[in-house]
């Protein structure tokens, strides 16, 4: 399973970025291989539709789960359409968020 995290840094030790569409980067962690890939959010400065493009970016990267702070209604709809589960994680590092997710301690975002 591939999990996308929004982050301001480079690796698992970095803090989460609590924005989704305007996040600096996406870290996609593969639970099967225990490896991660860092993707720049090239649409972070889009005048509109950044959330929708962010959804496209992580889905193309193979993520089926997203961990972020919050996401807006348009991004939420796009992610739902693609069948991505969205979890909220605040004020923690990517590694902490991963651990909390795997321990089923994060709450799923089910409405925008």
């Amino acid at each position: 399973m591939k999990i996308a995290f929004t982050t301001t840094g480079q690796d698992l030790a970095a803090p989460m970025d609590l924005r989704f569409g305007r996040a600096a980067k996406f870290l996609v962690f593969d639970t099967d291989t225990k490896t991660s890939v860092l993707i720049d959010n090239t649409h972070a400065d889009a005048s509109q539709g950044a959330g929708i493009k962010a959804a496209e970016t992580i889905v193309k990267a193979g993520a089926t789960t997203l961990v972020t702070g919050d996401c807006g209604p348009k991004a939420f709809n796009a992610l739902k359409q693609a069948g991505v589960k969205i979890y909220s994680a605040k004020a923690m590092t990517v590694a902490d968020a991963l651990e909390a997710l795997l321990a089923q301690k994060l709450s799923e975002i089910t409405s925008a």
Binding site: A46, G49, I52, K53, A55, E56, K74, A78, Q81, A82
Partner: protein, 276 residues
Amino acid sequence: MKIAIASGKGGTGKTTLAVNLALAAGAPVCLLDCDVEAPNAHLFLKATPAHERVVTIPIPVVDEALCDGCGLCSQFCAFNAIVSFGTVPVIAPEMCHGCGGCMRVCPQKAIREIDNRIGVVETLHAGDLTLVQGRLDIGVALAPPLIHAVKKEASGDLIIMDAPPGTSCPVLATLREVDFVLLVTEPTPFGLNDLRLAVEVVRELGLPFGVVINRASDQDSYVRPYLEEEKITLLAEIPDDRRIAQAYAKGEPLIHALPDYQPLFKKLFQTLCEAA
């Protein structure tokens, strides 16, 4: 002749200028309220509604049976209004500018367009004056297509346009193809800052323009020096007169409430006719 009243900064007197110039024209005139997010010229005119037209833009709908999820529509859209995950695209109608590009690039011909309402254009009459105003629906962000619809509804030889504030797309949609732009400002740091931006816009568009200073005072250390330095024509100054604010608050056109200002507006109108 098409004259637009613009400003950069909001609340400097665009509508006051536009309404009173139209009333001072002494000829049949068409006043266009292009501030479709907050049209307010009607507040100063006892105008009778004549007709109303619904304005729409085309937005895409996808035939799920034909779509193969190639994603070309998503790659094409500059406004991120249609996005594909290898499945049927998700459409965000409120972000669509109605360009029709997604429909053209779709190899499966799976996209067609439907009309999406964005607002109305209303025509009203007050004597010799025809007022055309756009009214954007609540929640709609896309003003330019409605502004174009307002301009299309204009009639007659003399057209005065009340532009929206700012210097973004709605202002450009208003100013394109006018003969003269009157920029109205106030002698404050904010007035000057936004005037500079508005001047950049009209210069970029290559339009002839001049400035009116509203709420003018003798201690203007902002706008007058700037106009001199930039060699910009000062068309008129409207003094900082409490009676003007009182008439405005009652919804009375300035030149009706205060006839002593009629010569100022008639002269300004004459100046514009010669400049345009």
